[in-house]
């Protein structure tokens, strides 16, 4: 029981990070029907900007962890959003209206470019991030085992829940969110009502990148070490989360992220940590075979 509870806490933390990345995949897919394979690298960029941010904070002598976290969070979101915007502008927009595979290939190109760019500018060796938040709280002890939630895990879950709630509110209630949903449902009609479709698509990339930056910062704090290649695996897992939840569905991405976190952690905890990635990708294959629309996905054709 104690072991199980501990795994559950770890799984929710990891699931939160995957969920934040998955939102970017699902929103971009929803609005322009393309898988942004460079999104994992955007997450990686966010992690590096966070690392630089934390270093600058410590150089400036900002000793308070909450202040540093908030500052770095905002800076990482802003800078990574610029990356998201630029990628769309340079690599995808010129290909709009081209054949379906063109932006996908372009995305793979962006992904490789960003990996190499970070490898060149930051070096190939893993970068330690240092411990920004330490300590935790012992929930209970059983079977000679302490079930512990660290402050860091608590921060990760709270930041994720707050951001997801805020984000859901933006999509459901604001005029920007309404325009995004309109573009997702019928992009031509949205234009006929005066929606600036290009701007709306840009903003979707900006929002997805900002959330990926948060995931990058949380990843850096949680694992304490990053390198230029972290975007690949985390990106594919978050993509799996988006597909599992139903690509195009926002609550689906959140649920999918949580489930992928659970599967990965419990597989590693009860079977073998070597095959945890295999377990995650086996889920991707099973979903694609038996339920291609995912858990909360919409069927392809809706009668209008």
């Amino acid at each position: 029981m104690a072991y199980f509870s501990q795994q559950l806490i770890n799984a929710i933390t990891l699931g939160a990070i995957y969920g934040l990345i998955a939102i970017g995949y699902t929103m971009v897919y929803g609005i322009i029907g393309m898988i942004n394979f460079a999104h994992g690298e955007v997450f990686m960029i966010g992690a590096f900007i966070s690392l630089i941010g934390f270093i600058i904070c410590s150089l400036l002598g900002i000793g308070s962890a909450p202040v540093a976290i908030v500052l770095v969070l905002l800076v990482a979101m802003a800078f990574t959003a610029v990356y998201g915007w630029t990628i769309e502008r340079l690599a995808y927009r010129p290909l709009r209206g081209s054949f379906r595979l063109a932006p996908l290939i372009s995305a793979i190109g962006v992904s490789i470019t960003l990996q190499n760019y970070v490898q060149l500018t930051q070096g190939a060796r893993p970068k330690p991030g240092g411990q920004i938040v330490s300590g935790g709280y012992n929930l209970f002890s059983a079977d000679g085992f302490d079930v512990r939630v660290t402050w860091l895990q608590l921060i990760i879950v709270i930041v994720t829940v707050v951001l997801m709630a805020g984000f859901t509110w933006v999509i459901a209630r604001t005029s920007l969110g309404r325009q995004q949903r309109a573009c997702e449902q019928d992009i031509k009609m949205a234009a006929l009502l005066g929606v600036n479709v290009d701007r709306t698509i840009s903003l979707t990339f900006v929002m997805g990148a900002a959330l990926a930056a948060v995931a990058g910062m949380l990843f850096l704090m949680y694992y304490g070490v990053i390198d230029f290649f972290i975007g690949f695996l985390a990106g594919i897992k978050a993509f799996t989360a988006a597909v599992l939840g139903g690509i195009g569905s926002l609550p689906g991405a959140m649920l999918g992220g949580l489930l992928i976190g659970l599967i990965e952690v419990f597989w590693a905890g009860y079977f073998s940590s070597e095959y945890k990635d295999v377990a995650v990708f086996a889920i991707l294959v099973l979903v694609l075979i038996f339920r291609p629309t995912g858990l909360l996905g919409k069927p392809e054709i809706e009668k209008v």
Partner: protein, 243 residues
């Protein structure tokens, strides 16, 4: 009507879908306050013309002017911002949005200060929409969707309203209601209307003037009454049970 400055001026417009030419040099005018109809068979290019006026697809050649200003090069959302609204073919209601949200989308370009006034006006015109304001657009009946599409277009306070086959697939009683509403929009709200129809009888009775489009070219034009009386129009578009 010819002495008035036209709100819409289409000159020698040619539109292509890839290599296929859909419009072959179309000329027409719509003057302020008129109800002008464009009739023609399936595939004649009627919807293409309406979409070309809205810049999607763009005309490959020719000129489209709104109030004397060229709009052919503008992106769709900027043409719409100049006062053009379209009720498109197939209505294109946002299926997973409520009636209210669909109307909010219609008000995308308008001043939020007069949102309440505009939506009250739409609900007064189509009380059915008020009853169903929280219902998802995709679950409405065809007639209700058509009302919503027209209401949504009116939310932007257009000066020129483009309607693409608003009667398509609707029961005769509903068709009558829709045409009555279009007449009222023109008379009471002073909106200029350009109406594309296969239902030539209803359209020509309502319209001040009409054009007949055949294979991407304007074949005939005249007042609604003239066209109703024209032998070619009668045999091609009226006799065959439309009325």
């Amino acid at each position: 009507m010819a002495e008035q400055q036209p709100i819409l001026e289409v000159r020698d417009v040619a539109t292509f879908y890839g290599a296929i030419q859909a419009l072959h040099g179309v000329d027409l005018d719509v003057a302020k306050g008129e109800i002008v109809t464009l009739i023609g068979a399936n595939g004649a290019g009627k919807s293409t013309l309406l979409m070309t006026i809205c810049g999607s697809p763009r005309a490959r050649s020719g000129s489209i002017k709104l109030d004397g200003e060229e709009i052919g090069h503008l992106p769709t959302h900027q043409i719409v911002r100049r006062g053009v609204a379209q009720v498109p073919e197939g209505r294109r209601i946002f299926p997973r949005m409520s009636v209210f949200e669909n109307l909010q989308m219609g008000a995308t370009i308008s001043d939020p200060a007069h949102f309440q006034q505009d939506i009250d006006r739409v609900f007064a015109m189509f009380p059915r929409l008020a009853e169903r304001r929280e219902q998802r657009g995709g679950t409405l009946s065809g007639g209700e969707q058509q009302m919503l599409a027209i209401g949504r277009a009116l939310m932007s306070r257009p000066r020129l309203l483009l309607l693409d086959e608003p009667s398509l697939g609707l029961a005769p009683l509903i068709v009558q209601q829709i045409f009555d509403a279009i007449g009222r929009i023109a008379r009471e709200e002073g909106v200029t209307i350009f109406l594309v129809e296969q239902n030539a009888y209803h359209a020509l009775r309502l319209a001040t003037r009409g054009y007949v489009l055949v294979n991407g070219r304007v074949r005939l034009s005249g007042t609604g009454r003239e066209l109703l009386a024209n032998a070619d129009v009668r045999s091609a578009y009226l006799e065959g049970g439309h009325a």
